[in-house]
């Protein structure tokens, strides 16, 4: 009754081995990558480092996540074509053709997503993403990621609704198109993947939108999609479908990574809102009572150049000192000192007074802070919510 295909069987151990290798390589890259940031980028900071981050995101979570959403259907569609070639041509030729449609598919996907990135960046240029909007966007993305991770762990049926099901019209159309035998088919399929983006891809698309620049948006999506390509190529080439048990194994990996990234993103969003309940601010606050004599506090006092002036050193690794003490009840000047800084620490933000400015790589920027009551804690952060600190008024 069924017309099942006869794709050659692939050793699942090999796939797992390659997956583990890839993950190990990715973890190595993440560990030794300086100034690593989260998915969400700040406007105008070092573009090259953002592209590297986008690429690493692609080769790690993006690749696996895309594989979960697009891999099974599209790889099997391509394999269907290969199978047809296989029955018509000699074996040696088939080996060549097996690579070609996947290559064409990935190249067209890369081009399509790059153009999509340009479009999103261009659209984003018409919106102004103030820090609060960006914080809300980050929190929304975080909830989406955490919900998806919990769905993968099958915690509760409600989390299944975090999975966006593409319209039947689109999936059916893609499937019908996949039956074609010409070389244009994988190209067309690659383009169609823009309609079934995975969760991480959607987050990256939001980032491209937030860039507010067509070129940056295109470059971000290019780097990200390029990163996903090796995973896609290896898996699509080696197998047409992951076995159910193996798929679950991969999904556990993806779920753990997405869960961690989700909480990191959530923490960044809370930092951007100036919330004292972010993990960084909570841990800093909880250690504060014993920090009276800590180097941060004493150095803060030492660098106070005048009674109504405080100084913060902006460095590639963050803000120093992390805790500043300031007198309450009087207007203050905060001196932000940079000297050869190129990380996103330059995108400086104080949510409570709605201050946001891209600092120069070298120089001093003065911020006027209105008088605060004693006991006030004012948080500052980079625009990605990664580097943080606080001013305590007393």
């Amino acid at each position: 009754m069924s017309k099942n295909n006869n794709i050659p069987a692939i050793n699942p151990v090999m796939i797992v081995f390659l997956g583990v290798l890839l993950l190990a390589f990715s973890i190595f890259l993440i560990t030794f990558q300086p100034n690593l940031e989260s998915l969400n980028q700040n406007v105008g900071s070092d573009i090259m480092s953002q592209l590297i981050i986008a690429f690493i995101t692609g080769i790690t979570t993006g690749g696996l996540s895309c594989l979960a959403v697009q891999g099974g259907l599209l790889a099997s569609s391509i394999a269907h074509q290969v199978e047809q070639d296989y029955s018509e041509k000699k074996k040696l030729k088939t080996r060549f053709n097996a690579r070609l449609p996947i290559f064409l598919f990935l190249v067209s996907k890369l081009i399509a997503y790059t153009l999509l990135g340009a479009l999103l960046g261009w659209l984003g240029s018409y919106f102004t993403f103030n820090p609060t909007t960006r914080a809300l966007l980050m929190i929304a993305i975080a909830i989406f990621m955490i919900g998806n991770a919990l769905r993968m762990f099958n915690i509760h049926p409600i989390f299944r609704y975090f999975s966006i099901e593409p319209p039947k019209v689109i999936t059916r159309y893609i499937r019908k198109t996949a039956k074609g035998t010409d070389t244009a088919t994988p190209i067309f399929l690659g383009v169609l993947t823009v309609f079934i983006p995975c969760g991480v891809t959607q987050a990256m698309m939001a980032t491209a939108l937030g860039s507010g620049n067509a070129f940056t948006g295109a470059a971000l999506m290019f780097a990200f999609t390029l990163g996903t390509s090796p995973v896609f190529f290896i898996i699509a080439y080696l197998t047409t479908e992951l076995g159910a048990s193996l798929e679950k194994f991969f999904m556990r990996f993806v779920a753990v990574v997405i869960l961690i990234l989700g909480f990191v993103t959530l923490d960044g969003g809370l930092n951007l809102m100036g919330s004292p309940y972010s993990l960084q601010n909570l841990t800093r606050n909880s250690s504060f009572p014993s920090a009276e004599s800590s180097p941060e506090i004493s150095s803060a006092q030492q660098i106070t150049s005048a009674e109504d002036e405080i100084t913060l050193y902006v460095q590639n690794e963050g803000y120093f000192p992390e805790i500043l003490k300031a007198p309450a009840g009087k207007d203050l000047t905060l001196n932000l000192v940079t000297d050869g800084v190129y990380s996103c620490a330059l995108a400086f933000l104080i949510p409570d007074i709605d201050f946001y400015q891209m600092l120069p790589s070298v120089g001093t920027v003065q911020v006027n802070i209105p008088a605060q009551t004693a006991g006030t804690e004012m948080y500052f952060t980079c625009s990605m919510g990664m580097y943080t600190g606080q001013i305590i008024f007393e």
Binding site: M1, R160, S163, P166
Partner: protein, 70 residues
């Protein structure tokens, strides 16, 4: 033509639903398949003279899932 609903409780993502819907292409006598990951079920409209429930469950099994009549 008859329309039946099967429970497929081991779907893990929306891609599983797409995989199940691809059975439209491999089973003779099927008019339409709609699978939902949210509901963990699959509705199938098919010609009873060409296909049985057992054929459908076997085909689903080959895709790596377990279907049972709802």
């Amino acid at each position: 033509m008859i329309k039946k609903i099967f429970k497929v409780s081991d779907m893990t993502c929306s891609n599983c639903a797409m995989k199940l819907e691809s059975l439209e292409d491999v089973l003779d006598g099927v008019k339409e398949i709609n699978a939902s990951y949210h509901k963990l079920e699959m509705s199938i409209e098919y010609d009873e003279s060409k296909l049985t429930e057992e054929d459908i469950m076997k085909a689903v099994k080959k895709k790596g899932y377990t279907a049972s009549p709802a």
